[in-house]
Symmetry: C2
Subunit: 368 residues, 2 copies
């Protein structure tokens, strides 16, 4: 039995033309160990946008029904040479109803699952049930759509903290969906968390959720406050989705200042371990490190999949079980706007979700 519908693809050509469009597609029976879902709901995460539009100019793009043609900057075009000329599907995660099941997955027929197809921007998608889970009765597709990327990343931060011997976290852009989840986890588990945001409204949002330490990085006294908060919480590992600019440098500088408070001068800085993980690129500009933090420090890229491979099945199983249990509470996501596959390719929609503004997330519902 075959299913027909639309599949979104994004293609970058060598001349810098980026074409994001819907194509007619047919889905055949899934392979053994796989299922086919009718995609009910799939979010657009920052991690999807890197593939979908990357740094293409969506303001000057040409929009027609089901199609966007934009121009990619030259250096980005060159850097992504490996994808030239290839129509690539997108959409990391989704919730949907199993409409066909491969060998060994028959028990899932007709069930709603949360999963990570990587091709979720389509009418249907193949998925590996081992990477997802069956959604409990009464949980809607909208509630289950974002059950992987943000929840597992937030839990991954806490596990990274533990694995590397730290006892508290500093988080940038902390008012995001992900940041709110991290806050709830830390409150539940009694983990000290320093939340760094960009506006007083975001300070209020997180305070209302119960946060103790929320700092506005645009305040004139941000740095002394950050040093105080780190000295108090011993939060010596940071997570930064911004990437560009001096966010990570400021974290490390404040950690060093907190660690060497009251200590004798050392030309090499303190021996206290301090680390920042960059896990996104909300600012595509260069990372600037002022290196006013001695010689004992680490800065790393952080990505969910390699982390899960390193952490191993026991840790990952524990993380997933917690997501299933608390999907509609701790791990609830909020969407500023919803639309079909056609809607998501309109100028208004692209302008909204490609701005990557904190709290303004788009949910795609292919079947309306």
């Amino acid at each position: 039995m075959a299913f027909t519908g639309k599949q979104l693809t994004t293609q970058l050509d060598a001349d810098g033309t980026l074409t994001v469009q819907l194509n007619d597609q047919t889905w055949d029976d899934p392979k053994p160990g796989q299922v086919l879902i009718q995609v009910e709901a799939t979010p657009i995460n920052p991690s999807d946008l890197g593939l979908l539009f990357a740094s293409a100019d969506t303001d000057t793009a040409v929009y027609s029904p089901g199609k966007v043609v934009a121009k990619m900057p030259e250096n980005a075009t060159r850097a992504m040479k490996a994808r030239h000329g290839m129509p690539m599907p997108a959409g990391n995660e989704a919730a949907g109803i199993v409409v066909a099941a491969g060998e060994g997955c028959e028990h899932l027929m007709g069930k709603r699952i949360a999963c990570v197809p990587g091709t979720a921007y389509g009418s249907y998608a193949y998925a590996d049930p081992n990477m997802g889970f069956e959604v409990q009765d009464g949980v809607t597709a909208e509630q289950a759509a974002s059950s992987f990327v943000n929840p597992m990343t937030a839990l991954g931060f806490v596990e990274t903290m533990k694995l590397e011997g730290y006892t508290g976290i500093v988080h940038a852009a902390a008012a995001s969906n992900l940041g709110q989840m991290l806050l709830k986890i830390c409150l539940e588990d009694g983990i000290p968390l320093v939340n760094v945001v960009r506006s007083d409204a975001q300070v209020k949002l997180l305070k209302d959720l119960g946060a103790t330490h929320v700092l506005n990085m645009t305040d004139a006294d941000y740095m002394p406050k950050l040093i105080d908060a780190i000295a108090e919480t011993k939060a010596m590992i940071g997570f930064d989705p911004i990437g560009g600019g001096t966010v990570a440098s400021q974290f490390l500088t404040a950690m060093e200042a907190a660690a060497s408070r009251g200590a004798a001068f050392s030309r090499y800085g303190s021996n206290a371990a301090k680390k920042v993980c960059i896990y996104g690129a909300l600012d595509l500009g260069p990372t600037i490190l002022n290196r006013a933090f001695g010689l004992t420090w680490d800065l790393s890229g952080w990505l969910l999949t390699p982390f899960m491979m390193k952490a191993g099945p026991e840790v990952v199983g524990r993380m997933r079980a917690r997501v299933m249990k608390d999907l509609t509470t701790t791990f609830a996501s909020h969407y500023a706007k919803k639309g079909t596959l056609e809607d998501m390719l309109t100028k208004d929609a692209v302008a909204m979700y490609n701005a990557r503004r904190t709290g303004e997330k788009y949910l795609v519902t292919p079947h309306g």
Copy 2:
């Protein structure tokens, strides 16, 4: 019995005045487990300069016999608040004759040792014999003066490579004394090494020493050549004493390009581990990361003492034994100029060694 002589100190005051001067001093009997050496020879390493002059302006300083008074920039003065008003001795390593021995060290009386006093710019210095070693007969003080910082750092890079699971090294400013040692070690041990330098003369110097891969970073085709060399050697850990600018960023970018050669496009970059360790600050400016290297990468500060603590006594013992054995061959140091404590505080001498030019090292011989 007491010994008298001169001791250099460096003092930074809150108003930004840096005073480096010689003071009269008396050395009493060493404590148990310690020895007192008459300092014969002590090098000025880049790691000493961070304390000695830091970023003070030595061009406009006032020089008088045995005294230099310079101005420190405001931000640096503020950053080094913990040392304000304190006269600090300097000089990491030295060779000297044991003139007094504390309890348990009597067997060393009259012997020449290589050691790490931390106060070596003086007529005499206390030292812990466990952190140094007795020099073999026929080895001069000049030959033994630099037997700790550079040799142990070069060996430390190789041990770091092994501990972290890498199999080849990229090294910046590779024509330095340290770089030449690293090259000799890698040649002896069959470890792939990519040497990065700044001039054709340095390329020739390292080629003459037997290097296979030597790249001039000022060449127009530096990046493609670096990618080729890393692809060939699988050198996925780099060491960078420059710190400022884009050296580390270029290393990570080239490692990523080499790792993803021929691979399918991934929006997150390759999963290949890649790391750069910044171990100095020849360029005090900010580190600029262009982050064109996916999300699987590490950038860390690297410092000898914490590394030795992490590596443990067995590894460190093995490193030290190798230094003792090969002190006049693999670990030989060269000096462009020599002088007394008074000489090292003249304008000409400071201008020379504070320029931190590759291959232009100063040796202090307090007793002429």
